[in-house]
Symmetry: C2
Subunit: 466 residues, 2 copies
């Protein structure tokens, strides 16, 4: 059966009209100049298509209307938060509906007895963090983009951050979800209670699913009591291996730091060049550790002694919170600073068992030499989660090619060391060819079948993950 294809504009017009029957005019964007600005997240090397329309619903009912329409017209839907992701998971596909949840940004409840918050998906991480602080509570997940990124996006990618070594990732804080399914049905998962085992854990299935199983329109989040402010220590090492040895001694010694970060020489230099922070450029690796305990100075002293035993050339505990904040600022500037080195970066996210961190660093250095590239490494060292960051000139095709190839080799190294291709950034478009190598053919088949259960028409964020 053949039919004449309607011209593109007419199709889009029809789609927009249908969407407008359940959404206010200002919530439906079709101007190509505007919709193009929603085409991609912050990942490099990830293709993005042109959305047919961008919708900005404000209610669950509006999201249901969007999904019913998409199902009826068989139009792909790409859900988006603040598009700060680093794997292309929020990139548009040609002719899709971009479903931006950013206008659903209300905090509906903060309950200090139950230690929960109930939020819409568009709430910005920092907004929630500050709001719960006012109740003496703490929402730990703190991705670098926390001032911009949304809770819905954090849930989609199971985001981490600097806090994870003590407090774990986003997944640990999601108790229950309201989800609009592909066909517009509404499903609630999980609970408001501290514990619960009624049926399969669909909540966790949605966390990290990158919008490929349904649209998260509400979340019940677990909170913790606000801990004391953390005190930071900096330790310099003459080699990456010595710094990693210190990490192993710290973890083996039973310490629970609230932060344990590593910056290599390349990163330290980049930060100094950008912000003139006076970090010690003669060091090969800088370790930042912190405690948010009742006596952080004593805990830092014990940790500092382990660093010295591992060969630290200098150990400098911060005197106070202000000095601590300055050290953390250096860490937080790392990616921006590395970007300034050659204009473009490709940020990897390989996580290895922390006992293999030294091997990961050494291997990354070998890869940088082989491909004649500058690769700076910042790592959530306490988690074994490295972000090898390839600095390159995107205008140089040969360097770009080498960057891409080194990236693959870094992931292969991570798997070889018993690690994962992604600790906290997700698979998205960037790593989908690598997913199968990590989880194997049986894993891929079962995952695909689960996708099929929730999205039989394949309209939810197609081309991501698999």
């Amino acid at each position: 059966m053949s039919r004449i294809e309607a011209p593109r504009d007419e199709q889009t017009g029809n789609l927009a009209d249908r969407l407008l029957s359940g959404l206010p005019a200002e919530a439906v964007l079709t101007d190509p100049d505007v919709t193009a600005s929603y085409a991609n997240d912050m990942a490099s090397f990830c293709p993005a298509g042109a959305p047919a329309v961008v919708v900005l619903p404000r209610t669950v009912e509006q999201v249901r209307h969007v999904m019913r329409t998409a199902t009826e017209l068989r139009v792909p839907v790409v859900p988006q938060g603040a598009r700060t992701g680093l794997s292309g998971g929020a990139n548009a596909t040609d002719g899709c509906i971009v479903l931006s949840l950013t206008k659903m940004d209300r905090i509906l409840e903060i309950n200090p007895v139950d230690r929960i918050a109930v939020v819409e998906p568009g709430v910005i991480n920092a907004t929630l963090s500050r709001a719960v602080n006012e109740h003496g509570l703490y929402y730990p997940p703190d991705p670098s983009s926390w001032e911009m990124c949304t809770i819905g996006g954090n849930i989609g990618t199971a985001s981490g951050g600097l806090c994870c070594v003590k407090y774990g990732v986003t997944a640990e804080y999601v108790l229950g979800l309201d989800v609009v399914l592909a066909d517009g049905r509404l499903m609630s998962t999980g609970r408001r209670t501290a514990k619960g085992v009624a049926g399969y854990d669909l909540t966790r299935l949605f966390v990290g699913s990158e919008g490929s199983l349904g649209i998260v329109v509400g979340a019940t989040l677990a909170l913790r009591p606000q801990p004391p402010e953390q005190l930071v220590l900096a330790a310099e090492f003459a080699s990456g291996a010595a710094a990693c040895d210190a990490v192993c001694r710290i973890m083996e010694g039973g310490h629970v730091p609230s932060l344990l970060e590593l910056m290599d020489r390349t990163t330290v230099k980049a930060v100094n060049d950008l912000a003139h922070m006076g970090l010690p450029e003669t060091t090969e690796a800088l370790l930042l550790a912190a405690f948010d305990t009742t006596d952080p100075a004593a805990d830092l002293a014990a940790l500092g002694a382990l660093c010295e035993a591992a060969g630290a050339t200098q150990v400098v505990p911060a005197d106070d919170v202000a000095e601590s904040e300055l050290l953390l600022q250096a860490r937080r500037l790392s990616l921006t600073a590395l970007e300034a080195v050659k204009g473009t970066t490709m940020i990897d996210d390989v996580c290895v068992p922390r006992s293999r961190l030294g091997a990961m660093l050494e291997g990354t250095e070998r890869i940088a030499e082989k491909y004649q590239l500058t690769i700076g490494v910042v790592a959530h060292a306490g988690d074994g989660n490295t972000h090898p960051t390839v600095c390159f000139d995107a205008a140089d095709p040969d360097e770009s090619r080498r960057a891409r190839e080194s990236f693959d080799e870094i992931m292969a190294l991570g798997l070889e060391l018993g690690g994962t291709i992604t600790g906290e950034h997700g698979v998205g478009v960037l790593k989908k060819e690598w997913l199968a190598r990590e989880i194997g053919p049986v894993g891929v088949e079962m995952q695909r079948q689960i996708k099929q259960v929730f999205d039989p028409l394949g309209i939810l964020n197609p081309g991501k993950l698999f």
Copy 2:
């Protein structure tokens, strides 16, 4: 198409022969007197069938053989750990293969730097706990049956325990699984690393799935550093409401006790009657709290002050670890003591938001009056997880009927208060009619479809959960 049914014995004989082609003789039990002893777990009111055969494999390959055979012959398989469950989740069905994992009981690795243990499913919880202690590590999940129950069983039911208020449930400690699927294929989920978001979280899907999606044959578990020994405080209250008010003040005050348990008057009296422990029988509710911090006495003093502010009639902190242990022993005897009251108990497991704990206690008392029953309540108060325990004489049909009816009413109350029908015991056979009431028709449909993905023939622990 009709055919003559083979006599039962011949069918069993054929099944046993097929199983014996991949299992040693001592791993295949067919004597009905023996197999009958594997028919059920520790739940009341749950029907159990007669297994055709019990298999006790020692290797992954043997489990795969069992599942291939079961798939080929379309025979249901009921996986079992130590059968200490309280929901009938391990109960046999007529003609099934009982697949006991108790012989796969090796601890394969304990790694203090990566803070993980790799185990087979039949390892007993207490065995693992003690083994990791020797490395300065801590595996928190501590169900009451911890001296008997297996890690595989804990994973199947997502078990909790006394530790959860600070350390969470089993689910929080499962990083990765090896699973034999219904057709005998082997799948690995998850990771050895601290973080990881490669694909859907199938690990968590299996945790709490009660053996209905696959057979867990290996697990990588997260460990924590061993905390200091905890110090316990007992606080007496003149009403359950006052004790629950204290719980709310403690949680709102930002405290993180390592244990926060409640025993009502009925339970206190039962424990005294059984063990002559000299607990204060004039009290209406006894709260036990503990800290495993560096200065537990100071933390207990602050918590004790909150109890007094909530109206505690007496607050008694233990002087030392030995005295603490004595108080905990009283708590651990609770269920045995309640069983002694009338010979039989029916233990519920309703979890409510902890702010509703007072309403749950009050409602349970109302239900006990209405049905003229003795219902003792022990609760993991800090989690809002109550175990209303109906004491009855199983030989009295009318009392048994009232017990059953009160049980339903308690679950209805839990749901009404925003809670869940099961905090840590699972659905099994006991609560499957209630699951739909909690998760709704869309939730049930999606869960059934997931079951269908992993178990298209419906041979994995049929009749459980749904």
